[in-house]
Symmetry: C2
DNA sequence: ATTATTTGTGAACACTCGTTAAGTTAATCT
DNA sequence: AGATTAACTTAACGAGTGTTCACAAATAAT
């Protein structure tokens, strides 16, 4: 890796960290540059503007917070054991959400919710909707194969996902107070409770 | 009401609006003053600093987003009809959350989450925890009187509240896309689904 | 109606902001 | 190795920041 590429990644990483903590407006280019040990002007060798940094952060981290990429073969083969499936999935999801960069990114989305960037609106909403869509698919599949009882997959999806986001906000949001253990514990409690409502 | 008090309230109202949209750092004193038709220096007749405005916003709106104040006698007398109780309460809560000032305040808390103000940390978390505590109380009462089946009131509270916050974020967050009707509809679906899990 | 007080303006302050240009050092290529 | 390109520094720009101060206008009290 060339030197330029290296510092560019460093700038991106530090920007994510600072933007998520102090917000985009609350972070100056001088804050950024000094956090990577450079002068402010050096930033512009790698990015055309401060906004361009934010844009590239969203290009890099913006996809797939929903968890679609967690659906590997091992997991898909569990579809016929819904409780096991949900438990395994939610633990994987929470572990992903517990990653420091994912935490920073979530904080950033909350802080910059509503901001336009390259004509696209940053939106907490779309995070929720993306996650919901995945689970509507999953529950549709499960009802079709009669692995769970009949009912609206949309409602099932809402009821399953909402507590996971709730847990995320409670245990995986405040950087000084991350508690992955409690998060997973409550997610298991949730899955157990939820399973009782949808089993055949 | 004297003139001074009037403009002070105007400044507070406009500040809540602008801070919630552009963030504290993203809003200048000149933005504020011009939004109420004044010069920037006039602001300092009513507030000692920009930060003091933010502090007073949190003093004014910061209490009781949890919904404790919605628990009037009419509602308490419904405790023995849990489904009716939950349905009535959540509709009241969502209507409150659908109020424009409440929407702005929620956006503000999301944006300024983690910021210290007067030594107190602004925190999304405490909003969730406050709401949860209220419902732990309620479900404890309901289990004691055997209005609902046995089980952990903490889990019940999580399972009941999480979807309400989920709904809030989906339908009562983006100012240009408020949909109270859908919010209430989904809350009713949720209550119905949830009721099946906790009825005796 | 006159005075006292409150609320507002206009201009300025010291400082920080994002960004650019010219020149220097360091890394890469042949 | 020397030549070429990439990466960084120093210095500066115009504009915007929060805040202050002397003064003017409007309101409230006598």
């Amino acid at each position: 890796m060339k030197k330029g590429e290296k510092t560019k990644n460093l700038i991106l990483a530090q920007s994510l960290q600072l933007f998520s903590k102090n917000g985009f407006s609350g972070t100056s280019v001088r804050d950024l540059s000094s956090s990577v040990g450079l002068r402010e002007s050096a930033i512009y060798n790698h990015f055309s503007s401060k906004k361009a940094i934010l844009a590239e952060i969203f290009e890099k981290f913006g996809q797939s917070t929903a968890g679609l990429n967690l659906l590997d073969d091992e997991l898909i083969n569990m579809l016929n054991k819904p409780q096991k499936f949900m438990q395994t999935f939610s633990e994987k999801l929470l572990r992903k959400w517990g990653d420091i960069e994912e935490i920073h990114f979530f904080n950033l989305v909350l802080k910059e919710n509503g901001t336009e960037i390259n004509g696209i609106k940053i939106s907490v909403n779309s995070l929720l909707e993306d996650a919901q869509k995945v689970w509507v698919m999953i529950f549709t599949e499960m009802t079709n194969h009669k692995f769970i009882k009949k009912g609206s997959p949309e409602i099932f999806a809402n009821e399953f996902i909402a507590p996971l986001f709730f847990i995320r906000m409670k245990f995986l949001l405040d950087e000084d107070n991350i508690d992955l253990k409690s998060a997973i514990k409550q997610a298991n409690e949730h899955t157990e409770f939820f399973w009782e409502s949808i089993k055949r």
